[in-house]
């Protein structure tokens, strides 16, 4: 049975249809409405990029109180897979589902740039179709993408192998600590990254390198999910 992706549409989401298209290349995909907490039947929840709730106050801060977020947290607690892209990553850190926080880019600007990221850990449901050391060309586009974790937390994340993607040398334009581009939780079922894999699934639009990430998810055994 095909993996079922549910992409949450918040008011202010921007990349939800792009994400839907990327996911439907490898499985079944549908949009989920932020006001509807019923996510049953969904194997992988994806929080897409954008400016949910206008990103007002602090990126990702307000969205974590959307009605659907409780269901997403429950899904994660059950071992279900959750992927947060850009704004979705910010939301997951604000919601405490991922460690750390995202701060304004060092250059203080929105920056849209194709970046190379390397796969640090290929032993996760999100990267199982990759090899360690693979370099993927993916666009990044954000104003608030500087990954930060206090030193102790950072040590834990690093030693637990939670860093999944790092910017290749020279590519870390936002100033993320340890060049971190994407991290997962200790259970490895929740993953957030700043670059946009959904925009790297077709050579016609620039690169298909990130298809592997979606293929990994499609290949991952379904371990949990909200009943």
């Amino acid at each position: 049975m095909a993996t079922r992706f549910g992409i949450v549409q918040f008011p202010g989401s921007c990349d939800e249809v792009d994400t839907l298209l990327a996911c439907s290349r490898v499985g079944d995909a549908e949009l989920l409405w932020h006001k509807d907490p019923d996510i049953s039947g969904v194997d992988v929840v994806v929080l897409p990029g954008g400016f949910s709730y206008g990103d007002y106050l602090r990126v990702g801060a307000i969205v974590r109180f959307a009605p659907i977020m409780e269901a997403v947290a429950a899904h994660a607690a059950d071992g279900g897979l959750v992927l947060g892209i850009c704004n979705g990553f910010q939301v997951l850190t604000e919601a405490g589902l991922l460690p750390g926080a995202l701060l304004p880019n060092q250059n203080l600007r929105f920056t849209c740039r194709q970046v190379d990221v390397s796969v640090v850990n290929a032993d996760t449901p999100f990267t199982r179709e990759c090899n360690e050391g693979d370099v993927l060309s993916i666009p990044a586009k954000h104003t608030t993408g500087r990954y930060f974790a206090p030193p102790e937390m950072l040590d834990e994340i690093e030693s637990a192998g939670q860093v999944i993607l790092r910017y290749a040398p020279g590519e870390n334009f936002n100033g993320s600590v340890n060049d971190i581009a994407g991290v997962c939780n200790t259970e490895r079922n929740v993953f957030g990254l700043m670059p946009h894999p959904e925009h790297a699934v077709d050579p016609l639009t620039g690169s298909a390198d990130a298809l592997k990430l979606f293929e990994s998810l499609a290949a991952a055994p379904v371990t949990g999910g909200a009943a």
Binding site: G54, Y56, L57, I62, F65
Partner: protein, 82 residues
């Protein structure tokens, strides 16, 4: 003696403040009732040698006088009122 100052910058009355609105609407969802008139602005804290320059700094850089009001506050005990 450098003085520590706070500059409070807020949207001018009548200027659209979508951030304040967003926060005001989010709070009840979190169970916080009875909150109103929420406005989100900026806080700039700095140390200045010459506090008489602060007003000009606000006008020229720290605030946008067209859409923002500002208020300069000196930290208690760290200087005289400007």
């Amino acid at each position: 003696m450098p003085v520590t100052a706070q500059v409070l910058i807020r949207p001018k009355v009548g200027i659209l403040d979508p951030q304040g609105q967003a926060v005001e609407e989010a709070l009840p969802a979190l169970g916080f009732e009875g909150v109103s008139n929420v406005h989100v602005g900026r806080l700039v804290e700095l140390q200045v040698e010459d506090q008489s320059q602060l007003d000009a700094m606000c006008q020229k850089l720290l605030a946008n006088p067209l859409i923002e009001d500002y208020e300069i506050v000196f930290e208690a005990g760290s200087g005289t009122e400007g």
